[in-house]
Symmetry: C2
Subunit: 578 residues, 2 copies
């Protein structure tokens, strides 16, 4: 029997028999439970694929055989088996690995992957490259946990068999997305499960795949049998495995949604170790929208598979009833369905995680923007205060959204302003509106809300120097202005609110100013500051644009990031009086 600390590479498990592989799986699961309960992470998805990952590495020969995990938050066990066990059994080393596959970490990892539904396209590229080079390795896409319903996965599923060569798609069917599944495809998968893979109208067979069903997707022996049979196939294969999300942690098996991703928790009870009762913008949004829903039967809240990201827990979804729409992980469909709902005279409001909004750029432009339909999109975790994995960065959103015509992009600086923006957006029917939920902790203000959101708000009128700061940066800029006042300066402080156009009248009032500084919670390139600079520069006003550098960064510390980019109150003040 092998001990976990002896696991250096997949070669170490090749000689084990089924019983030893089962024992290994138990140990891996035990270690996972220990780490995840102390450290947090994607709990349910990884507990569900312990046996499948062991079987994959037993049957196939990575890194020659190429595996793509989708979403790669299911790759913890893969990491444990490919030279990174230390980061799972030694608490001091828990942070040595990222939560996703990462080529910088290991040659066994091929891509950074944090958005869903990419694996079949990536695998198709690898397979075609293999064919062009005359290689013979297996290429495997391991897709599941709701990734299959995304449009790009379906595009991949459509194209892959036409290669006419080896590609193996493992559909990890754990019957779940982050929340429950949506979309007719999952009804089809359910019928396949119920019939041991025999249901008629098999969608995979329709596309020309060899189809293999594994009823016991947490049974090593069955998995090895199935994978061995399809290894080295000269055509496209789907292996549909029925797994249990959260297996081995009873609370996670029952409450799959809460344990999709969790912070540190009590291993016995499942209770979170750190309190979570502080005020949040997500709860604020959810309650505000429920009030609108109760008030108006034509208000709908939409999501593409991430209801929890904006406070729509199961109980709140029940309260919203048919006015809550979850299309599954299908951002394109969701944004364009919102366009249809707006055209149909209802008031659609989509909650969307900033990084996932990227999937629907064209839909926002072509379907919502060109048609100028009054759909509302409320972004969560935009800017630098959200997720900090390189695959989930939220600070490119202003560059993406604000340069599309017709779309009004608003950014709130505090709770009162945020709620007033939501109310205005729901009430109006003239514009598509995107609202940035402020980053960081909830801030309140007793400054009366100026609801003329399409204009800049001059919070303090001074002279010579102006600071224009949006969203979460406004509070820092406000502190900077205090510092400047202590130096005897009288800066003007502006809260722009609207990021998609400049308030020319307000900017004209800065003529003759010595220096204007813009501060934004996002990259400078393509952001609102550069629009201000382009407007004021020919008018003889110097503008400095502060914000983040245009780069992909991984697992950063927000405080350090602000320091590095000159975004602390002290740095903003120093820049302003340069």
């Amino acid at each position: 029997m092998i001990e976990l600390n002896e696991l250096h590479s997949p070669a170490d498990i090749k000689g084990l028999d089924n019983r030893e592989l089962e024992q290994l799986s138990d140990k891996l699961r035990e270690a996972l439970l220990k780490k995840l309960s102390a450290h947090g992470g994607h709990v349910g998805p990884n507990l569900g694929v312990v046996e499948a990952t062991v079987a994959l590495h037993y049957v196939f020969n990575a890194p020659e055989d190429q595996m793509v995990f989708d979403v790669s938050h299911q790759s913890y066990v893969h990491k444990m088996l490919t030279g990174r066990i230390g980061a799972f059994i030694d608490p001091a080393r828990y942070d040595e690995v990222t939560g996703y596959t990462s080529p910088g970490e290991s040659d066994y990892d091929l891509f950074e992957i944090g958005h869903t539904s990419t694996s079949i396209s990536l695998a198709t590229g690898l397979a075609k490259a293999r064919d062009m080079k005359g290689g013979h390795q297996n290429v495997i896409a391991f897709i599941g946990d709701a990734s299959l319903g995304g449009g790009m996965a379906l595009e991949g599923l459509d194209y892959a068999p036409t290669l006419g060569s080896n590609i193996i798609i493992v559909v990890n069917d754990n019957q779940m997305s982050i929340a429950e599944n949506h979309g007719a495809l999952y009804g089809h998968l359910a019928r396949l499960r119920e019939t041991d893979g025999q249901a008629p109208d098999n969608i995979f067979k329709a596309l020309g795949y060899e189809y293999v069903y594994v009823k016991e997707g947490n049974d090593i022996e069955r998995l090895i049998d199935a994978f061995s049979k399809v290894k080295d196939a000269d055509h496209a294969v789907v292996v549909h495995i029925n797994t249990m999300k959260g297996q081995g942690l009873p609370v996670a098996e029952v409450n799959k949604e809460n344990f999709h991703f969790a912070g540190p928790f009590d291993l016995k009870t499942g209770a979170p170790l750190h309190g979570g009762s502080s005020e949040s913008y997500t709860d604020m949004f959810a309650e505000r929208m429920l009030a609108h829903i109760e008030d108006n039967s034509e208000v709908a809240v939409l999501t593409a598979g991430t209801p929890g990201a904006f406070g729509f827990s199961e109980s709140r979804r029940l309260r919203a009833g048919k006015q809550f729409i979850d299309v599954g992980i299908a951002e394109q469909d969701c944004v364009t369905m919102a366009a249809g709902l707006a055209k149909g005279g209802t008031r659609p409001v989509m909650g969307v995680v900033a990084t996932f909004f990227q999937r629907a750029y064209d839909q926002l432009s072509h379907d919502v923007g060109i048609n100028n339909l009054p759909a509302v999109f409320v972004e969560f975790y935009p800017g630098m205060f959200g997720m900090n994995d390189v695959t989930h960065l939220g600070f490119f959103d202003v560059a993406m959204v604000s340069n599309i015509p017709n779309i009004v992009m608003l950014s709130a600086t505090n709770a009162e302003e945020y709620q007033a923006m939501i109310d205005m957006a729901v009430a109006q029917t003239s514009h598509p509106i995107v609202i940035r939920t402020p980053g960081g902790a909830v801030r309140h203000s007793d400054r009366p809300v100026d609801t003329d959101f399409f204009r800049y708000e001059v919070v303090e009128r001074g002279e010579e120097i102006a600071v224009i700061a949006e969203g979460a940066m406004f509070a820092r800029a406000s502190e900077a202005v205090d510092l400047l006042r202590k130096q005897g300066l009288k800066p003007t402080l502006i809260n722009p609110r609207i990021l998609s156009s400049v308030d020319k009248k307000c900017l004209d009032s800065l003529a003759g100013y010595r220096h204007v500084v813009t501060v934004e919670d996002g990259i400078v390139d393509g952001g609102f500051g550069q629009k201000v600079a382009a407007y004021l520069s020919p008018r003889g006003v110097k503008v400095t644009c502060l914000g983040l550098a245009k780069e992909f960064i991984d697992r950063f510390d927000v405080k350090e990031l602000m320091e590095a980019n000159g975004l602390t109150p002290e740095a903003i003040a120093a820049t302003a009086c340069k």
Copy 2:
């Protein structure tokens, strides 16, 4: 019998019998042929759906019943039947209608639609709005001509049946995309056609649709039967109709690709009326890539269903063999497959129409950008010199692409530079590179190509005033500089080439300049000029950014657009010496 000039609304055809409807269809087709041969347009798609559109309007009651056309280039007959016949039978009025559905033109048109695969999502939104409002109309998505393979159509197909109410999806199966179909789904449709709809593993049934097959999709009577049966259904239905693209024009029935969209042509021979033998960047690209393909078996050219847009005609595709990849209209899959190909060590080069590149924003960022994979993307029809339909604008691409980290965006000013950029991009393996094909007629230059493309090229070093102009704007700026010289000024002229970052060293050399003008073939917001302004403004140099206003405009005249935005040589010169 009704005459075409008596067609005012769909009510006018309700009393006709089948024979009269057939006669009407013949007249509509005749009028279409006359207009299209004289005027150009989407020939094959519209000739194929004459009977289907007549049957739709006979059975359903628009505008109460809501029809969404996808792509809406198939909506000419719909326009003829809904009050716009004059624009099809009176040559003086041919330009009164756009080539797509257009709500500004008629209440029978619900959305501006020019990109594929949007109809099911839009229809789902309309259907949900109907259900929320307690309405009872039919909602119909008319999808075909390759739109069904796009990921967002598949997302819609997945979600629509879960509404549990009326939605009717007419799959117009004309066996074609713009070129031949790609993807396993089309093999499945072929099997359904061959078996009169009886083939096993029916993908529509798998998703819970009622499925109806119409073998004779150009037979009014059969179509009316089928549509009548599913009218007012309380669930989701797919009506799969087998139509003939180009029906009624023998050359178009045979050569479907060439007659997907055509300029004016001889009705008897099909020969184009206007010569097309002038030099083009598309041919240049195709021949250059064929040379690379012949030279290196690991070079691949990819497309998402639009090979003709960059010169890859059928004969050239044959020359490229297995090194040419068409994934069908699936931009997401294509971009991410390119990432996989690059990871696999080959050299993928995707040709992509700028407006359709929008579909793959997230893939460009998440799969190509974060992973920093050396895939190459060559954009066609970027800027203002490409298509001028509001749904096909190409001048948002710099704002979209250039603000994504790691992506190197290059813009060529002439043929020699363009080809050198392609050669460099194929040869290098350090960066993802996006190349803008210059807009307008091919320009040659005997200026030696400076291949250090990651730096600005100072074409003429002067003083006090600098003009930095990219792509097709460089020639205009060059003329502007000539005008300024005649006034005794000595401007500096710069060709930036790289749009995704500023050349700080070069810009530092402009310290002390009186005025810098940037000129770009795209919107100013989010473009390269604003990056220059943001860099130089705090350094005390005034910068004026010239380019297009951020707005959606339809069927513009390029010359007028340049005049309106101050982009003529005279206007650039006048701005520069302000």
